[in-house]
Symmetry: C2
Subunit: 237 residues, 2 copies
């Protein structure tokens, strides 16, 4: 695709170099951490000079923000692709939870944890990445809304479930920094998948898709009963 030995156009040169730099930045963020890496390290890892780096990015903050945006955009693209997959050939909540877990675990949230403190203490940096973060969430919404539409759950509720799922995953990965215990996290994830299955099943029964008969399973009945009982009991508070 790319001309092999041929000369590159200026645009190509810029694109190549910046891409190498951004990928190297993400790798270093993950492997060494934001404060254990220098711009020299980035240039070295990218295989370019530090002059090249400073030519394209005028500050460390800027290249970090660019790299983070780059990574988030990639993740967003993946999410939309997944939403498309669900639209065309369906998908289960289990699969989505697994996908999100893998996506976050595959460096995304580790990198996020590296720059979150920076976002918290550096207003400029924060405002620089917030738009991309919002794009990312729009991607998440697509996936979840797609599943909701497929199963017939209210979109509002589906979004709550999605956000809870994401927060849970974030917290799990955060904890994994001080707890090396894959079995523990697997168990937690299994628990959550079951929760999501039940949520979608339950809602599916309450709002039957299409002309389907409102068939409630025994388990669902018990759950609804318990829920109603509790709601009624606590309303007086």
């Amino acid at each position: 695709m790319k001309p092999r030995g041929r000369r590159k156009t200026q645009q190509e040169r810029t694109a190549d170099t910046t891409l190498k730099l951004l990928n190297a930045t993400i790798a270093l963020l993950h492997d060494r951490g934001l404060y254990r890496m220098s711009t020299s390290d980035i240039a070295e890892a990218a295989g370019v000079s530090r002059g090249a780096l400073t030519h394209h990015f005028s500050s460390k903050e800027e290249i970090i923000a660019a790299a983070v945006s780059h990574q988030l955009r990639n993740a967003t693209a993946g999410l939309h692709k997944m939403a498309e997959g669900i639209r065309q050939s369906g998908g289960t909540s289990d699969e989505i939870v697994d996908y999100l877990w893998r996506m976050m675990k595959d460096r995304l949230f580790y990198v996020t944890m590296e720059y979150l403190p920076e976002a918290r203490h550096n207003a400029e940096f924060r405002t620089a990445i917030i738009p991309v973060v919002k794009e990312f969430h729009a991607g998440l919404n697509s996936v979840w809304a797609e599943l909701a539409g497929q199963v017939g759950v209210e979109v509002e509720h589906a979004l709550v479930l999605m956000n809870a799922t994401m927060c849970l995953i974030r917290g799990m990965i955060a904890q994994s920094a001080t707890r090396d215990d894959p079995a523990y996290f697997d168990a937690l994830l299994d628990f959550w998948k079951e929760q999501m299955r039940r949520e979608f099943m339950l809602k599916n029964d309450e709002f039957p898709a299409g002309a389907g008969e409102p068939k409630q399973s025994l388990a669902a009945l018990e759950i609804s009963a318990a829920r109603l009982r509790h709601q009624g009991a606590t309303k007086g508070r």
Copy 2:
């Protein structure tokens, strides 16, 4: 208790100075972040000389680890106190979720996010804090197990619920760095409280308290919850 203007013994001097240093360290971790603060800043904030700091702590890493341990131990003490409150006068899952949320939001997890990258990239630091983290989790277990025993839920399952709750809270606070939206987080927390209520209710029905006393009335639960709320509100520093 402490002699007012009188001379202090060496032990008292050490205790006072180190405490001032540790508190200042936590405050700076929260306000400025691990990498935006220097040991000079710590000494200044504590109102002692940098020489005093280096006398008690031989490296920045060491004082950070000590401060984190200090904070975690305090939190652990609070958890055990709460477990005791539940043992004596009961408590609801709602109240516990609220307590954990407040505890984490009150600097605990913000500080944690500051040193998590360090824990991830610095093996010595990690091994230094892991024992205290484990103590902390033991404290969490106490609280949750107490509630489980009270309501008749299997302890195993209760621990899963507790861990999920903690991970959810972690993830929410992490997200709060790039999303300033209290209503959103309130909604998420409300959703979760409802989940926990249902979990405990449901399990309570599945495993009715054997030959023991009939389970506490909701009114009684509410009363003890109010007590806990008050305790939690006044225990903070």
